[in-house]
Symmetry: C2
Subunit: 116 residues, 2 copies
């Protein structure tokens, strides 16, 4: 397994301490994001139930276009790659649409994706 | 463009108000998450620079396994699908590794992904 690269155990203790400090921050941020996403899905589950009850389509391309434009602008302000922010939102929306389809199927008003 | 489904403009004002309320919460959460992710990438950029300077490999499978196990547990507590939390982390890590490779290339110690 030896390569020309050094392993984490071979590095200077000061470097290792700095890496640990950064990783602790990353872990804190991840915990916060997971809890935010849990809250986000609670809201989208409610949207899904509302849409199913009123026979609204699971996907809403106009709303999504507005969300993408807004998040790209917010990302730019926060110095986050706007292309990544868009990819991220699409990743989340894909999951939400899967949830909405499941809710629509469960409530007996189910139709396949994009049919509305 | 008419289908058997109703459009957002046709629904009861009370339903529309409820949908707007939920969407406002989703937009607030998204803004928070975008800012958290901007902060996360600042930390991982520093990790990337540290790794490149000390010739550490961009990817760290053991660290990733620990992160995944931890996030799945946090997700479960927050009633978020642990499988989704894992998929989410993999999505973020893929972007981070891309950044680290770019940093390694820029600093002239670049090797291809996974070679370390």
């Amino acid at each position: 397994m030896s390569t020309s690269r050094t392993g984490i155990d071979d590095v200077d203790p000061a470097v290792r301490a700095e890496l640990t400090r950064l990783r602790d921050s990353i872990d804190n941020i991840d915990a916060a994001v997971v809890h935010m996403l849990a809250e986000r899905f609670k809201a989208t589950q409610q949207v899904g139930r509302l849409k199913a009850a009123h026979r609204l389509p699971p996907a809403d391309p106009e709303r999504e276009a507005r969300q993408i434009a807004r998040l790209r602008a917010l990302a730019e302000d926060a110095k986050l790659d706007p292309a990544f922010a868009e990819k991220f939102l699409n990743f989340i929306i894909a999951e939400v649409i899967r949830h909405h389809e499941r809710i629509a199927e469960d409530s007996g008003t189910g139709r396949t994706a994009g049919a509305g």
